[in-house]
C-alpha cells in the first residue's frame, strides 16, 4: 500500500514540446490517498492511459516526479515499484493452468509454496475460478481469461497499488456488473489502493471513491462521484458525467445575475463575487437537467419556455424545452404533469453554475 504523489508531473511524446497541445499529460501536482479506489475517467486520447503507464512505471514521464510514500520512483521499473496492472485485453500464459497463472507472480518473487497456495485459492474463490484451477488457461472463455488477468493482479498481497486499464472491455454486460461488484468487495475487504481507467462513467462512478476526470491531457477535476455530479468544476465534467449532460448557455453578467439573451437568471453570491473582478473571457451558465424545475409561467422566478418533446425513460421523464435559441433538457419524475401551453422553467440558485472559459467560478 502506498500514498501516490504527483509532483509537477507532465508528459509529452514530442522531443521539444512548446505549446500545451504538445502534452499528452499536462502539468499535474496531486496526492492520492493510500487504500482508496480511484478511477481515471475520460474519452479516448485524453491522457488517462498515459498517466496510468506513468504510475505503473511502463512509461517514464518527460517532466516531474512520481512519489510512492514520499519515495521518488519516477525511474523505477514496475517491479521495483511493486505494482500490479491488469490490461484491456486478457493476458494469460497459454501453456499454464489457471492455478499456475495465478501463482506465477508469486513464484517469480520466491514466495513460499504454502503461501502461494493459500493466496491463489483465496483469489480464485473471490473470482469464482476455483472450479477451473486445474484447467489450462487457454481453453477458457474471454471472460474467464480476463478474470485470470485480474487474479494475477490481486494475488500479491503486498502491492503498492493495483492498476486496471479498462479491464472490462471484453466482458459481456451482465458479467461486467458482477465483476465490478467483486472488485469493489475485494477493495473494501483488503483496502488496496486501486486505480481504474475507463471511459464509461457508470463504471467509474460505481467503482471509485474518487474519480479523476481527464480531458485533452489535463485532469479537470478530482472528486467523489457526488462532487462531480453536483459541482462540476469544468464544463467537460458537466457534459461527460450525467446522462444527459449539463445544460450550458453562453451568458453575460449583470449586477447580481446572468443575462442569457437579455433574460435575467439569478446567480449564487459566490459566483458574483468571484466573477466580479475578472474582465473578459467567455462566460457560460450551466445547470444539470436534474436540477432545473418545470413549472407554469406566472410563478415567481419562472421563465416561459416552449416544450418541444418529452421522452419517457420508464423511471423518469426527460423534457426538451426551448428558451429562445437554446435547447435545454429537464429531468422530471414520472408523475409530474407537463404543462402544454404555459410551461416555464426556474433556475434554483444553488444549482446554477457560472463558468468562465470552461472553468467553474461559482
Amino acid at each position: 500500500m502506498a500514498t501516490i504523489q504527483f509532483d509537477n508531473l507532465g508528459h509529452s511524446y514530442h522531443p521539444h514540446p512548446s505549446k500545451p497541445e504538445d502534452y499528452a499529460l499536462r502539468r499535474l501536482s496531486q496526492e492520492w490517498e493510500d487504500g482508496k479506489a480511484y478511477a481515471l475517467l475520460g474519452p479516448s486520447g485524453c491522457g488517462k492511459s498515459t498517466l496510468l503507464n506513468i504510475i505503473s512505471g511502463l512509461l517514464v514521464p518527460s517532466e516531474g516526479r512520481v512519489l510512492f510514500d514520499g519515495l521518488d520512483v519516477t525511474r523505477c521499473t514496475p517491479e521495483e515499484r511493486n505494482i500490479a496492472q491488469v490490461f484491456q485485453f486478457p493476458v494469460i500464459y497459454d501453456t499454464m493452468t489457471v492455478y499456475e497463472n495465478l501463482a506465477f507472480p508469486l513464484r517469480n518473487r520466491k514466495v513460499p509454496a504454502a503461501d502461494v497456495d493459500r493466496r491463489v485459492r483465496q483469489v480464485a474463490e473471490a473470482l469464482d475460478l476455483t472450479a477451473d484451477l486445474k484447467k489450462r488457461a487457454q481453453r477458457l472463455t474471454p471472460d474467464a481469461k480476463q478474470k485470470i488477468s485480474m487474479g494475477r493482479g490481486l494475488v500479491r498481497s503486498d502491492v503498492a497499488a493495483i492498476l486496471f486499464d479498462e479491464p472490462l472491455t471484453v466482458i459481456d454486460p451482465h458479467t461486467k456488473w458482477i465483476l465490478r461488484r467483486k472488485l469493489r468487495q475485494i477493495h473494501e475487504e483488503y483496502r488496496l489502493t486501486m486505480i481504474y481507467v475507463t471511459h464509461d462513467q457508470v463504471e467509474a462512478l460505481t467503482f471509485a471513491d474518487k474519480v479523476a476526470v481527464m480531458y485533452e491531457g489535463a485532469m479537470v477535476q478530482l472528486g467523489t462521484p457526488q462532487e462531480l455530479f453536483e459541482n462540476p468544476e469544468h464544463t467537460f465534467v458537466g457534459y461527460f458525467i450525467g446522462s444527459p449532460g449539463i445544460n450550458l448557455m453562453p451568458c453575460t453578467l449583470g449586477s447580481d445575475h446572468a443575462l442569457v439573451d437579455g433574460i435575467a437568471i439569478p446567480l449564487p453570491d459566490r459566483a458574483m463575487s468571484s466573477a466580479g473582478g475578472r474582465v473578459g473571457g467567455k462566460f457560460e451558465l450551466g445547470i444539470r437537467p436534474e436540477f432545473l424545475e418545470l413549472t407554469r409561467s406566472g410563478n415567481a422566478g419562472a421563465i416561459p419556455v416552449q416544450v418541444t418533446g418529452v421522452d419517457d425513460l420508464g423511471t423518469s421523464k426527460l423534457a426538451t424545452v426551448r428558451l429562445n435559441n437554446h435547447t435545454l433538457k429537464v429531468r422530471l419524475s414520472e408523475e409530474q404533469e407537463i404543462p402544454a401551453l404555459d410551461a416555464a422553467i426556474r433556475f434554483p440558485t444553488r444549482w446554477t453554475k457560472l463558468y468562465r472559459d470552461s472553468h467553474l467560478i461559482g
Binding site: 521499473t77 490490461f87 501453456t95
Partner: protein
C-alpha cells in the same frame, strides 16, 4: 430454402481435376505401375509382384543412405531451429531502416538458386582459391572436402544452415511480431525473468510457425539433392550420398526403373511417416494434458 440442383457445377471443377490428374495422380500411378514390373525396354515388361520392394528393403547401400539421411535431417533441425529462434529474438522490431536491412539480409540466401548455392560453397571451400578453404589452410587445418568424408559432411551441413536458417528466423520473427505489447508489460509486472518470458510467452506464441518451420525444414532436408550433388557429387565415396541422390543414380544412372519406382514409393512413405510423427509430437506438446 430449396436446394438448387445444378449439375453444371461439375464443369467448373473439371479443369482442376484435369490438372491434378495430369500433374500428380497419373505420374504417381505410373510409378506404382513401374514398381511391380520388370522393364527391359518400351513394350518389354512383365509383372514381378513385390520383388522390387523386397530388393529395395534389402539393399545395403540404401540402408546406409537412409541412416545418413536421418542423421543429416535431424542435425539440420537441431541446428537450424534453435539458431533461427535465436536470430529472430535478436532482430530489431518496429518499422525502422534497421529492421528492413535485417530482413533483406536474411532473405538473401533464400533467393539464391540451389545449384548456385552449391557452386558458391564449392568455390568457397577450395583450398587454393576459396576464402574458407584458404583460411583453414593458412591457420594450419588440413581442410579438404573432396577427400575427407567428415569435412565433406560438415560442409554440406553448414551449407544447408547457411542457406535455410533464414527461413526459420523469418517465420519465428513473424510469430514474435504478432505478440501484443501488453504480454511483455504484464510479464514485467509479474516479475518474470527473461527466460520465463521466452518459455511462457514467446515460445507458446511461436508454436504455430515452429510447426511449419520444422515440417518444411525436415521435408526439404530429407529430400535434399542439388546442393550436395553440386558440392561433392555424393562423395568422397558414398559419404554424402543421400536418398534422393541414390535414387537418381538408380533410375537414371543404372536405368533400374522398376527398382527405382519401388524405392520412390518407400521414400515417399518415409517422408510422410516422419512428417506425421513430427506434426503429432509438436501439436501434442503444445496442447498439454488431455481432457
Amino acid at each position: 430454402m430449396d436446394k438448387v440442383q445444378d449439375n453444371r457445377a461439375w464443369f467448373l471443377i473439371i479443369p482442376v481435376f484435369l490438372i491434378v490428374a495430369f500433374s500428380a495422380v497419373i505420374p504417381l500411378m505410373t510409378v506404382v505401375n513401374y514398381s511391380v514390373q520388370e522393364i527391359f525396354g518400351p513394350g518389354q515388361t512383365f509383372f514381378v509382384g513385390t520383388e522390387w520392394f523386397e530388393a529395395v528393403l534389402k539393399d545395403e547401400r540404401l540402408h546406409d543412405a537412409l541412416v545418413r539421411q536421418i542423421i543429416y535431417s535431424l542435425a539440420v533441425l537441431a541446428i537450424e531451429i534453435p539458431l533461427g529462434i535465436l536470430i529472430a529474438l535478436g532482430m530489431p522490431g518496429g518499422r525502422s531502416a534497421k529492421t528492413s536491412l535485417t530482413l533483406v539480409l536474411l532473405a538473401l540466401p533464400l533467393l539464391i538458386p540451389f545449384n548456385v548455392v552449391g557452386t558458391i560453397w564449392q568455390i568457397f571451400g577450395r583450398g587454393d582459391i576459396g576464402l574458407l578453404g584458404a583460411t583453414f589452410r593458412a591457420i594450419g587445418i588440413d581442410y579438404n572436402y573432396t577427400n575427407n568424408s567428415a569435412h565433406a559432411w560438415v560442409t554440406v551441413l553448414v551449407m544447408d544452415v547457411w542457406h535455410w536458417t533464414s527461413l526459420v528466423a523469418l517465420l519465428c520473427y513473424a510469430g514474435l511480431q504478432s505478440i501484443p505489447p501488453a504480454f511483455y508489460q504484464a510479464a514485467k509486472i509479474d516479475g518474470a525473468s527473461k527466460w520465463a518470458v521466452f518459455r511462457y510467452i514467446q515460445l507458446p506464441k511461436m508454436r504455430g510457425v515452429l510447426i511449419i518451420a520444422v515440417l518444411l525444414r525436415f521435408m526439404d532436408s530429407f529430400m535434399i539433392y542439388t546442393e550436395p550433388f553440386v558440392l561433392t557429387g555424393g562423395g568422397p565415396g558414398n559419404s554424402t550420398t543421400f536418398l534422393s541422390q541414390y535414387l537418381t543414380q538408380m533410375a537414371v544412372g543404372q536405368f533400374d526403373i522398376g527398382k527405382a519406382a519401388a524405392f520412390s514409393i518407400v521414400y515417399f512413405l518415409i517422408v510422410l511417416l516422419f512428417s506425421f510423427i513430427f506434426y503429432t509430437i509438436i501439436t501434442r506438446t503444445g496442447e498439454g494434458e488431455k481432457k
